[in-house]
């Protein structure tokens, strides 16, 4: 047994960190998030495409590196709270490959290189507050209906739409489709509600779709959990540094025991999330029978943990943490997005119960 990363994954971590520090420091990404229409850096995503990152989850023969690598990369992206559809794109690439369909394969190839953005439109998204969710339907070569909370739906070149008939690939028509922004409190993660009535291709029938989607859920949970880990890891790092510098009542505030114990709790939750995420990534990598269960566990734990850590990070910074200028709120907000999507905490807990019973 060993817990630390092997050479290959360590190299991936350090090169990813270097890349992100150089190309996507939060100081620069701030202006992209706040000012660009798409909300993220397209050049960076192109570069990630050139380097093969979106295809991380593909089989090794197709340039993939496996779930541990996937978790390592997402953790690093969490540390800089990277804006953009990277996770959604990587999941869509995997799904396109899993369709085993020619049209899908072509889009998969392009999406894996970062040339186009394909994202998945799931039925469940937004369902929590809608009594009935209208599922888009597919007939006569067209997909019709409303997809909601589609991540970066207004920026996507194509959607992979979950319908009762299966997965439908719908390319954005020249005139554009009706995509309406759904601004959430995390302004850096864009969502859209899309009225669809466009030509599409059925790339997976309902049974293929079902089994592929059942496999994408744990991968999505793992990716989101890894990103949450990076988010809280960085928030804690920033906080302990601040507590060592800042003084009040004649002492560095990090010497006050009540604050020290708070930081200890933040570390406990951060390191526990790390154990859970790494264990889930290892289970997925080694094809363990409990991989889906462990992914649900990791996501169910990491969400509330990151919420606690980021909330306390703000609290321990006092007023300055409440300023827009300071970065901490980006982490707090990203936590909320990651917690609510890719299977909310409540749904992951229920999934963990069901998956355990099924083992």
């Amino acid at each position: 047994m060993r817990f630390d990363l092997g050479d290959e994954h360590s190299l991936l971590r350090s090169s990813t960190r270097e890349l992100l520090e150089q190309e996507a420091p939060l100081s620069e990404m701030r202006s992209v998030m706040e000012q660009s229409i798409e909300g993220y850096s397209k050049p960076l995503h192109s570069k990630l495409g050139d380097l093969g990152y979106p295809g991380l989850l593909l089989p090794e023969a197709d340039g993939g590196m496996g779930p541990i690598a996937f978790a390592v990369v997402l953790e690093e992206m969490g540390r800089v709270a990277l804006p953009g559809p990277f996770l959604d794109q990587a999941l869509a690439v995997w799904l396109l490959a899993a369709c085993e369909n020619k049209v899908a394969a072509e889009w998969c190839r392009r999406a894996a290189k970062g040339d186009t953005l394909v994202v998945l439109a799931r039925r469940e998204w937004g369902a929590r507050t809608a009594r009935s969710v209208a599922t888009p339907s597919f007939s006569d070569g067209r997909v019709r209906g409303r997809a909601t909370f589609v991540p970066f739906g207004a920026q996507a070149d194509a959607l992979l739409v979950e319908t009762n008939e299966g997965l439908v690939l719908a390319e954005r028509p020249g005139t554009g489709w009706e995509a309406q922004d759904l601004p959430t409190l995390d302004h850096a993660q864009r969502f859209a509600e899309i009225e669809l009535d466009v030509a599409g291709a059925l790339v997976a029938d309902s049974s293929t779709a079902r089994s592929a989607l059942a496999k994408i859920d744990p991968l999505a949970a793992l990716g989101a959990a890894a990103m949450l880990l990076g988010v809280m890891d960085r928030a804690l790092e920033v906080t302990t540094a601040y507590l060592s510098e800042r003084s009040a009542f004649g002492a560095p505030i990090g010497s006050f025991q009540a604050l020290q114990h708070r930081c200890a709790d933040m570390l406990l939750q951060t390191e526990s999330a790390r154990s859970a995420v790494y264990r889930a990534s290892w289970a997925a990598e080694s094809g363990a029978p409990d991989d889906a269960y462990l992914a649900a566990v990791a996501k169910a734990y990491a969400g509330p943990a990151a919420r606690f850590v980021c909330g306390q990070a703000l609290q321990l910074h006092g007023g300055v943490g409440f300023t827009w200028e300071y970065d901490l709120h980006i982490y707090l907000k990203r936590t909320k997005t990651l917690e609510q999507f890719h299977g909310s905490t409540g749904s992951q807990i229920e999934a963990a119960l069901l998956l355990r019973d099924a083992q």
Partner: protein, 392 residues
């Protein structure tokens, strides 16, 4: 024990309700949600509303009659605040001026200062902001370093203040500044400083909510006239600490009234989707309701204690911790239960009722920091209420 209101108090409540029904422009909240809406218009809404409240005699109700008072007790003030919140009225623009500065002037100011400042503060003709906190002096307020150097009979102020609510729209600022660098508490004095002068620069301070009703104020030799020193030199700390405790009773029913509106908004949204039938959802909502009702009990207790002529002690720290941490639990739970749609602002995507949950979630983060952080409040309780030993 008597936690009920008198017939007079109940009829005052009816009077307020009737007045609100006739005077409150309902669409103000809708207007403030409009994306094109900006901070200027929010301040204008608050200014107009304050002026209207003042005309009706609802401000400074407990002050001496010549300064707008009508012999009202804390109970009437609390009733007023509760009704304002239930009716979803906007805030006023001079909240800190009326809450902190006016009592300071009434108790520690000169007759000239009262005449000069109180009427226009009430009418909102002049907007005031508070200059206490500094970048290096938040929880440890006495560490403040803004200097006041004597200049003849006057003073020159140099330094920086932060978290000045409505700073960018203010005409005046009341400032704690250091007149003796050696004496931690006794070296602080209390000044009134006009903002429209060369030595003062105000910058907007954008918060994590994306709004900027706070500001930073930079002083570079700004003039504070000798006649605008409140109390004596070196009395600033004492005056500030005294007035920070004023008007406490008036606010004691406000937080539970406000959060009850939010809980009701959540329940309405959950009923709409049918999720209110889910036992897990009911238990979480019920838990919030219970905690809010207990907060109201705490508020009634504070109010009753004040009304019977007793001063509540540092137990008010309990109320501060309670409402601020409760608001975080409330918004946390609401976002969990209502899902991402709850974050959407008003619009065709079907925003949820009256409550802007995304905003409330973020804003709730401020409550445990300002006006004495939760950590400071717990220090106060340990020392002044529980009398636990001090570290050597």
């Amino acid at each position: 024990m008597d936690l009920g209101f008198t017939a007079e108090q109940e009829s005052f409540r009816i009077e307020v309700r009737d007045w609100l029904a006739q005077n409150l422009e309902r669409p103000w909240r809708v207007e403030s949600r409009d994306p094109s809406h900006d901070a200027d218009s929010l301040v204008e809404v608050r200014r107009r509303w304050q002026s209207r409240l003042n005309d009706a005699g609802y401000l400074g109700m407990s002050w001496p009659q010549e300064w707008g008072g009508r012999g009202a007790s804390e109970v009437e003030q609390a009733i007023l605040q509760e009704e304002l919140i239930r009716a979803d009225a906007p805030g006023i623009v001079n909240g800190l001026g009326l809450g902190l500065l006016a009592p300071a002037l009434i108790h520690h100011g000169t007759e000239e200062q009262r005449r000069r400042f109180i009427p226009k503060m009430l009418s909102a003709e002049e907007i005031w902001c508070q200059g206490f906190s500094e970048p290096g002096a938040g929880s440890d307020l006495a560490a403040l370093r803004t200097q006041a150097e004597p200049d003849g009979a006057d003073y020159r102020i140099t330094g920086q203040k932060v978290w000045t609510t409505f700073g960018p729209w203010s005409d005046w600022i009341f400032v704690l500044a250091r007149t003796d660098p050696e004496d931690r508490h006794g070296g602080i004095s209390f000044f009134l400083v006009p903002i429209d002068q060369p030595g003062v620069e105000v910058r907007e301070l954008k918060q994590i909510t994306g709004h900027s009703e706070f500001g930073e104020v930079f002083f570079d030799g700004a003039l504070a006239k000798g006649e605008h020193l409140v109390g004596k030199v070196g009395e600033g700390w004492r005056i500030a600490m005294t007035v920070l405790g004023f008007e406490r009773g008036a606010a004691s029913l406000a937080p539970p009234a406000s959060y009850e509106r939010q809980i009701d908004g959540m329940i309405a949204a959950l009923r709409e989707t049918g999720e209110y039938e889910n036992p897990s959802v009911r238990e979480k909502v019920g838990q919030l309701l219970v905690e809010n009702e207990v907060m109201r009990a705490n508020g009634m207790r504070t109010l009753a204690t004040l009304a019977s002529g007793q001063a509540p002690g540092p137990e008010s720290s309990i109320e501060k911790i309670y409402w601020s941490e409760f608001h975080q639990r409330l918004t946390d739970t609401a976002l969990d239960l209502l899902g991402p749609k709850a974050q959407l602002e008003a619009g065709p995507q079907g925003a949820l009722q009256d409550v802007n949950w995304g905003y409330e979630y973020l804003w709730s983060r401020a409550g445990t920091i300002y006006s004495g952080s939760s950590e400071i409040q717990r220090n106060i309780i340990a020392k002044r209420v529980l009398h636990l030993p001090t570290a050597r």
